[in-house]
């Protein structure tokens, strides 16, 4: 059996000629699989035989077997690209089809980079955090929650009682500017 499978150079291919396929394959990092296995995200209309022929003709990879499954996505409110998602309009994103391929030669992905400075990760994370804070301020329950930059009232009171902090009036407090002065006095009505 083993000698036969080694002697077999190419898989039996389909005969229908497709000249200009217009789809993308996404190779996935699968460290949980053996190195002879590769996993792809494929379009929903692709079948196992198509993937086997595509990999052989375009990439020269002999494939021993293909396994496929379709992952249904969770429902969510309104479409993903909606600018202002309206609630209670339920929408299920399109399913994702994945195919696992068994190859004859092992393949291991390049290692993950340890330093993400080239991608400017620190700025990216800071911007994301800031964006999330801004988004949370538009939520309906934003007023009910305590502000993030303020400790709880009980902790402030305790610190005040312990004498660690001094009481000072808040910014909204009335400021005494003296008597009111008429600004425009020479106006003839």
């Amino acid at each position: 059996m083993a000698s036969q499978s080694i002697a077999r150079k190419a898989p039996r291919l389909g005969k229908k000629q497709i000249f200009m396929p217009n789809f993308t394959l996404t190779l996935l990092r699968t460290p949980q699989l053996p190195p002879t296995f590769a996993s792809f995200i494929v379009p929903l209309n692709l079948n196992k035989l198509d993937l086997r022929d595509y990999l052989w003709n375009a990439y020269g990879i002999p494939v021993r077997g293909v396994r496929s499954y379709i992952q249904m996505q969770k429902i969510r409110q309104d479409k993903a690209n909606a600018k202002r998602p309206s609630p209670r309009r339920w929408f299920r994103p399109r399913s994702i089809k994945k195919m696992m391929v068994e190859m004859e030669q092992p393949f291991v992905w390049p290692e993950e980079p340890e330093n993400f400075d080239l991608w400017d990760k620190s700025t990216f994370d800071a911007a994301q955090k800031d964006r999330e804070e801004t988004e949370s301020s538009f939520r309906p329950d934003y007023r009910e929650k305590p502000a993030s930059d303020r400790g709880s009232i009980a902790e402030q009171a305790k610190a005040l009682l312990r004498g660690e902090e001094k009481w000072k009036p808040s910014l909204n407090d009335w400021e005494d500017d003296g008597d009111a002065v008429e600004v425009e006095q020479n106006v003839k009505i």
Partner: protein
Amino acid sequence: METPKLFWTRAVGSTDGGCSGVVTIGPHAVKWQGEAVATEVQEASGVIATSNKNLNLEESCVTRSCELWVLLDRPEHVKLDALPLKIQVSMSTPTAMRPTAGQLFKAIRMQHVPPTFLLPSLVPPAQQSYPFSSTTHNSYPRDYNRQRGVSSQRRTGLRQPVSVSKTPLPKPVLDPKKRSKVEVDENHGLWQFFHSKEKPMNTPEEDYAHGRSWSVEELRQKSWEDLHSLWWVCCKERNRIATGSYERNRLNAGYGDAEARGRDAAVRVTMRAIKQALTERYYSWIEAEKVAKSDPEVDLSGKGPAYTPRDFVDEDLLEEELPSSKPEIPLQSEVKPDERAVPNA
């Protein structure tokens, strides 16, 4: 009647190359039970008991370890260095006997609490003994099933050691850093899913460093082979971009999404231009076929030459006769009236 205090202890010994032998249990043993030798519990009368049991050891076995659970009546006997338990191997020819055949059992430790699997042997069974009992004799086993008591669910293991018993089981390496590295072929086809072999995805600078896409004007000059191979180059580039973008999002690496989308858009514009050029080529072919049907110089039947020029004029002659020449090629003027006559032409 005062029952004597009994203590269980474990004795372990081994014989080398023995086929059958005799176990001699010393005077202090009251009961004994073991994995290798004991198939039934030997009752001892009184304090001092001596019993001889026949050993049934496997012939193929080179080293045979025996484990006995011995019930002793006095704890001080356990503290003896060597229990008076002896295993003697007797074979048909005494010359074949190994020197290490008869090893003394040694008491390993004393246990005041017997192990749980010995509980049934501690409780004396309420046996019914009638002279007319129809049950078989106790010395016979329940049946002659050799696999009796071997259960995979209870993980009892086999009754006899097998050839792989001496080989330790391989243990999985849970730490992925300690695993041996897989050697990947340089020309593996999956490398074409990456822009480089060092990183799984491009940096934003690398993704941004791309030229413009092909325009339709340039692609009109190209042959079908060129356009077809360019299409496949574009397909593979889109696969690379999709793989890198997915990995970047998975790692939460940072910026680079906009650059990858710009690169992908440039590739897609090229693919659109290829389709545009091919569509134009197709329509011009259709038009040319229509014209050729009414052209007397073109033969579409497939028999003979496809193109036969009728009014062939040499260039030198043409230059000389230019002032007084009629239109040499009346093709268009001939064709056009016919086309006008046909509706929707």
